[in-house]
């Protein structure tokens, strides 16, 4: 009789993860998007989104989270985020004369689309910080387990 190996943690942890994950992602997005009105910004929001993916990794195991965002996709998103920061700076140079110039209109305070390019920067920093911390966690937590899983599979054969 085939016994299916259970990956990840117990059923209670998986249920709580199901309930909490949506809230964490939405709250992370709120902290990022409203970073110029309330406390927060790109850095805490990015780390919060990385923590949401890390929670899925801890609760469900490596295979489930790699089917959502694989290591290669995370690395590509990390590079795209860093490039986006650079490109925004160069666009500021072309349009305003100095690197990282604020080239979008100011708007009225307390609006979502006010304060120029700050919201674009927050989004780029979120993608960069979030994805890089997620892939570093995959490298730290998963590489050792790859070795032991191969060994146990060979013993099982």
């Amino acid at each position: 009789m085939k016994k299916r190996k259970q990956s990840g943690m117990t059923f209670i942890v998986k249920t709580i993860t199901n309930l909490i994950i949506g809230f964490m992602m939405v709250f992370g997005a709120y902290v990022v998007l409203y970073g110029h009105i309330t406390p927060g910004g790109g850095f805490p929001g990015g780390v919060m989104i990385a923590l949401a993916y890390i929670l899925i990794t801890l609760a469900y195991g490596r295979k489930v989270v790699e089917s959502m965002v694989s290591g290669v996709a995370g690395s590509i998103c990390d590079d795209v985020g860093a490039l986006a920061i650079l490109i925004l700076g160069v666009v500021g140079l072309l349009l305003g004369g100095t690197f990282l110039f604020n080239f979008l209109p100011k708007g009225t305070p307390f609006d979502l689309f006010s304060a120029g390019h700050i919201i674009l920067y927050n989004l780029a920093i979120t993608v960069k910080v979030g994805m890089s911390l997620y892939i570093v966690f995959l490298a730290l937590a998963i590489l050792q387990r790859v070795v032991t899983e191969d060994e146990t599979q060979e013993v099982g054969k």
């Binding site: 970073g35 910004g41 700050i118 910080v129 730290l140």
Partner: protein
């Protein structure tokens, strides 16, 4: 006045927590104690009027706890620190630490009294922030408009350090898959 008393209490707890961190022998307990010190620090940031920093400190503390626990609970479960002889003897260390603390006490008297910051540059940021940037959060307007170079440098430093961590943790394929060895023998 109560704020300053509360800050003294919080700093006292942080000192007790950090002494527990470095003297306890079980590594998992040490990591949890340093996490407690970080959370008390986030509370101190809230009392000092820095909610942005408090949010960032809590989030970063949780992630560094996860990374540190990964380092201490390894395959061999070597979670107890071995009994050690100290590099310097206890008396010499205490004498040096005492001298440093005495000089530090006199050095801190040359700073401005606590609670009266010299806000020469920050007055400019506070007065012109709303008109020139339009953001209600003045800390964000400082890091992303007035001092955007520092944030740019920080993003690059984070990129380099994460790439470095990746380069250290990368395994050569030769250790895992045997078919690469077969390809090498054919050449």
């Amino acid at each position: 006045m109560e704020t300053i008393i509360i800050l003294h209490l919080l700093l006292g707890f942080m000192i007790i927590g950090s002494v527990i961190t470095i003297e306890i022998r079980n590594m998992l307990s040490a990591v949890i104690a340093v996490g407690a010190v970080g959370f008390i620090l986030a509370m101190a940031f809230l009392f000092l009027g820095a909610p942005d920093i408090a949010i960032t400190q809590v989030i970063v503390e949780v992630l560094s706890l996860i990374i540190l626990i990964r380092a201490t609970i390894n395959v061999d479960n070597e979670a107890i620190e071995k009994k050690e002889e100290h590099v310097l003897s206890n008396r010499t260390t205490l004498i040096f630490v005492g001298i440093i603390l005495v000089f530090a006490w006199f050095a801190f008297h040359s700073l401005r009294p606590f609670g009266e910051p010299l806000m020469r540059i920050s007055n400019f940021y506070l007065i012109h922030g709303l008109a020139e940037v339009g953001a209600a959060n003045f800390v964000t307007s400082v890091i992303l408009d007035f001092r955007a170079y520092d944030t740019f440098g920080e993003a690059m430093v984070l990129f380099v350090s994460i790439s470095g961590a990746f380069a250290i943790l990368r395994r050569w394929k030769r250790e895992q898959h045997k078919d690469f060895l077969r390809i090498d023998r054919e050449h």
